[in-house]
Structure formats: C-alpha cells, structure tokens
Symmetry: C2
Subunit: 364 residues, 2 copies
C-alpha cells in the first residue's frame, strides 16, 4: 500500500493515519470539520485535503450514523481500490450499504473492520500511532469480498501492529455487546448510584469502585451512537443480567431472615453467583491481549525453624523472580512441609537453580 | 502504645502487626490456626503466642462471624486496656456484643473500626506493612466510648499511616454497601456473563471489561461473610440498580423500533443514564484517596502557520509539564485562535514561564 485516504480525523482516524504515515504510506486527511483535518495534519498524520486521484485504500472513520452514506459515496465515485470502515458495530453498516443500492462489484471492494482500541478522550489531539499495538482488530469479510481488499485491510492492521481477527459481522456485534457495550452500561449504573450520595460515604471509595466505574466517564453522545447501532444484542444481555440481579436481591433478603434455614439458602444463592463471577473473570484475557498465562510451580521442602518462608522469599527476590502465588502444605502433626511457589513458566528454571544454589531442597 | 495483641493473623491482622512492629510496638500474635500465627511471626509481624499480662490494645481481626464472641472474651478477661475490631461491617458486631450481655464499663473499652484496604489475595503471606497508607480507616466511637480507647485507635491508624474518618456505625454500613458491596456484586454479575461465552468473543476483551470485572476475582467465602453482615443496605441499593436496569432495557428496545419518535425516546433514556453515570463517576476520589485535582488553564495565542499545536506540545514536554487536557477556540472565519492547556495548579506557573521564554503569547 502506497496511498491512503482517511475520512474522519477523530481519535481513531488520526491514530491510523499517524501509524500509516510513520511507516511510509502517503496519507490524505479529510473531515467534514476542516479544522479537525488541519489539526491532524499539524500533528504529522498526513496531508490535509483530498488526493488528486484514486488511492489504494480509503479508511472511513466517521461517526456511526454517517458510515453507510460515506462508504456509498467513496465506492460510487471509485475513490479507492479498496475501502474499509472502523465503526464499532458491523452488521448495520453493511445492511445499510446494501439498502442504499450499492452494486455487488462495489460491495466486493468494501470490508467492515473494527479496531478494538479506544480511550476516554476523543478527537485528533488524543490520537497516538501506537493506539492499536497488540490489540485485536476485527475484519468481517464475506464470501464476496475481493481478496485484494482483504489483503489491503490486513496490511493496515499489520502497519498499526494490531492482531487481525476474522469474524462474521453479526457474531462480532454480539461479541462487542458482551465484552464492551454491556459492561459499559453496568459501569454507568454503578456510577449513577454515587450521583447524589453523601460525601462522607463517597470518600470511603477504594480501588474496587474506581475500577468498576472508570469507563462510566466516557462521552455519552459517542455511546448513544454505538448503542443505537447495536441495541438488540445489548438488551438481550442486560435482560439476563436483570434476572441474575433479581436472584441476588432475593438471596440478600433471605440473608436478613431470622430463620436459619432461610439464611443458609441466601448464602448458597450468593455463593453461586460469586463463583460464576470468579469463573467468568478468569476468562478475561490479560493486559497484553493474550490469554492468562499458565503458571508453573516450584515446590520447596522446608524444615521447622522459624523464618524459613521469609528466607525463601528473600532468595527468590534476589534471583529476580516474581512469585505470583504461594501454597503451603504441612504433613499432619509435623512442622516440616512443602512450599509451592507459583511463577511464570519462563522463571521456573532460574528460580529452581537459584534456590538449589542457596541450599534449598526442591522437589523434582 | 507499647504493647498490642493481634487476634487473627490473616491479611489485615498481619498487615497491622507488621506496621506496628515496624514502628516499635511489641506485638503478640494469636490465631485459632497456630500455623498462621507462626507464619505471621516468621514474616516479622511480632511474637507468636499470647502475652503474659494485659496489653495496651487488643486488635481483633478474625472473620466476621467470630468478631462479637472474640470481643466479648477479650473484654471479659481484661486482656487489654482498649479493644478494637477491623470487621468490614460495624452495626452488627456492636449489637451482638450488647446481646451477649457485655457490661457497659466493658463496652466503653471497645471501639469498632474498619480500615478501607484490601487485596484480592488473603492470608498472612499477602500482608504488607504499607497496606493502609493513605487509605481511610473508619472509627465508630459512641458517646460512651472511653477517650483513652479512641486515642489508642487513632494511634494505630497513625502508625499504619492511614487517614482516620469518624462515622456512625450504621452510616458506615450504608456507605460501604454503596462504595464496596454493591459494586462488588455488579462486577460479579458482569463477569458471570462471560462464564460460558465463546472464546472468539472473549478474546475481544479490552481494558474496560478487565477493569469492571477485576474485583469479581475475590474469594466468595470471604464475601459471603461480608454480605451476610450487611444484607439490608446492599439489597436496597441493588433494588435501585434493578429499576435503572429495567429502564435501560426498555430504552434499548425503543432504539430497535422502526418508529423514529420511539427511537428518539430510547436515545434520550440512554443519554440520561449515561449522564448520571458521568456525574457519579466524577465523585469517585482519585488514586490517592483525595478528591480529583482541580486543574488550571494556561491559554496560548496561536497564529495560522501549520504545526503550531505540535510545537506547543513539544515545548510543554521539554518543560517537563504533563498536559491533562486541551481545548482549542478559533474566532469565526479566522485561523488564529486560542489553545487552552489544562494542567495541575502546581505546573501552571512553570508552563507559563517556559512557553513565554520560547516566544509564545500567553493570555494573562
């Protein structure tokens, strides 16, 4: 890819433009607000204004309500060999594009995509070339999508150092309802409870509620656009949450009961919910967009002198190994036992060697 | 305070013991699981085993179900001049203590407290002396609490470098229902949706859902204890959330409608919820337990040459100033305008001076 046209120079469009320009692509920037395009150009994202002739790829990064008409315009006037959008919902734009009477040969030059990156801030000034690094970027080709266009999209994803994920458009929309839209609304529902709360209560807030409500700070107008494009799957999920919530309230009311049997019932109900929460939470991929690391254990035999645990930790620390978790087992009636140190697989051999060197017995 | 007895050497008890020992207090450690107390002692938290005579302060850090009986025992045998517990709910323990027939002169030597710190991990191995630094620590004295006992509690809070907050016990319980127990259950409800989700959907997870579900990883048994002690206020809050949730589902269903008027109604409903979420979120104190910083603006005049914004940012960066936000204003029909740089109050004078030195015009 040598030339690209970015239409819409907000956070996402400008970030893509910065990444492409930084890797040698000639990028043209247009926006219905000309000042926005000028700002993006001033930040080094490309050339302000439309190109003289057709480009290799047009990237449509306008608000959801304008995606289909912008795509139809770009495809209709042959402004690019291929064309992609980056809207956060994928079923709607394609159906609208078809409803606008776009010819099949034009549709073949379009691919719907969704880079799974964002910030609470918006606009070109919040853009960075590394916004997409290591993040999933969903591509939704159909059987009719030109292979050349799919490859142009894959090239953009690679130049932005994102991780391409191919999905069906409707499956994508259900997936983002689950991992993004539903959590967003629940975060807002928790935060809304604080609106009129006493200051003495709010000042007791800790990291827990801070994390739960962080995304409730996002721009409501942007989120109305997103949710308007995907209301069905989100409503279905919230209905399921509402059922669980009703069950939780019932369990809490049982916990208030004077009847012990009833209280036990309540505790069982709450425990079931919390355990399902535990199970779901472990499925969330870690910080770097990968599955949670599988850990390894190094098992150390300890005697009954005091201070052995502290020594093991000091020795592990001196070896530069981060211990993720610890389990201790004692044989019945004896002080000696086993200490299981849970570490990243890459750290296990070094830890074993370092502890052996310092005189510890390691279970093979 | 010279001597203390910590009863219950889990995460909280051991962390307090580490802080007190580190600041010169002679701490005795006991636990119904003797190995736990030995582990805490091996980590440097104090002396394993009960003291020979009465101590200055007894700190009861046992699971919620055992708090009242442990307090009654300590107060009954005069094991300490003063006595506090650290359970996360405060109305119940006092009422149970009274129901156990504790004499008024013994009750006067008790103060209910709650350090607002925690980790997902539990047990003495997760303990650290700095667990409470800068965090609120609620004290719930009554009119009958001995001033000496209040002062002993304040001394513990100071030695742990926490921030004391005096509250009524029941107001505390409603406050923690709001800022801790309700968000915890909602985090679990969101995470529970992921339990049986497709892997292709879950891998699209980003920082948003990661933050919302982080606390869903906590130990269910500990949370059943906490919620069992505070079911009423939590159920009341969840009922309010359920009403908002029903309204949200109705609004999303309206957004699915073919009727434009209905869709507009849905968007208005969603916007109202999101704005209430915005308003509530701004009330959550910042990372260091303080209210969000109030920012100051430095307003820079710019001309119409390209690249000026980039230059301003480079100059601010060279001055070592972190720009928190930016707003740009252009006079109608003109390229020149004002750039408002939003920074911490402490940084404003340095930024103004640095930009002036580099030739920028700063609005006074």
């Amino acid at each position: 890819m040598r030339t690209a046209l970015v239409i819409g120079t907000g956070l996402i469009g400008t970030s893509i433009a910065l990444a492409l320009t930084g890797r040698g692509v000639a990028v043209h920037l247009v926006d219905h607000d000309a000042q926005q395009a000028r700002t993006a150009a001033a930040l080094g994202a490309g050339t302000d204004g439309p190109p003289a002739g057709p480009v290799d790829l047009a990237i449509v990064a306008v608000p959801p309500a304008h995606v289909a008409t912008t795509l139809a315009d770009v495809l209709g006037r042959g402004a690019a060999r291929g064309c992609l959008d980056v809207a956060s919902v994928k079923g709607g734009p394609r159906r609208q594009l078809e409803a606008l009477g776009t010819a099949p040969e034009a549709l073949a030059r379009y691919i719907g995509t969704h880079p799974m990156s964002g910030r609470e801030k918006s606009g070109p000034l919040a853009a960075t070339a590394d916004l997409f690094e290591g993040r999933p970027w969903v591509l939704t080709p159909t059987r009719d999508t030109d292979t050349e266009v799919l490859n142009l999209a894959l090239e953009v994803v690679a130049l932005c150092r994102a991780v391409p994920v191919v999905m069906d458009a409707d499956a994508h929309d259900r997936a983002v309802a689950l991992v993004s839209h539903m959590p967003h609304l629940l975060s807002g529902l928790v935060a809304a409870r604080l609106e009129h709360a006493d200051e003495s209560a709010v000042r007791l807030s800790g990291q827990g509620i801070r994390d739960v409500t962080r995304i409730a700070a996002s721009d409501p107008r942007m989120w109305i656009d997103i949710l308007s494009a995907n209301p069905g799957p989100v409503a279905d999920l919230l209905t399921e949450v509402a059922e669980d919530l009703d069950g939780t309230v019932r369990a809490l009311r049982s916990l208030q009961s004077a009847d012990e049997e009833k209280r036990r019932e309540g505790a069982t109900g709450i425990e079931a919910l919390l355990r399902r929460g535990n199970a779901g939470q472990t499925r969330v991929p870690g910080k770097h967009g990968t599955a949670p690391a599988v850990y390894e254990s190094v098992v150390v035999l300890i005697g009954d002198e005091p201070g052995q645990l502290a020594r093991i930790f000091a020795d592990a620390g001196a070896a530069g190994v981060n211990v993720e978790d610890v389990r201790i087992e004692h044989a019945t009636g004896r002080q000696e036992g086993l200490v299981e140190l849970v570490v990243l697989p890459t750290a296990a051999p070094a830890l074993t060697a370092a502890l052996r060197e310092r005189g510890w017995s390691i279970r093979p």
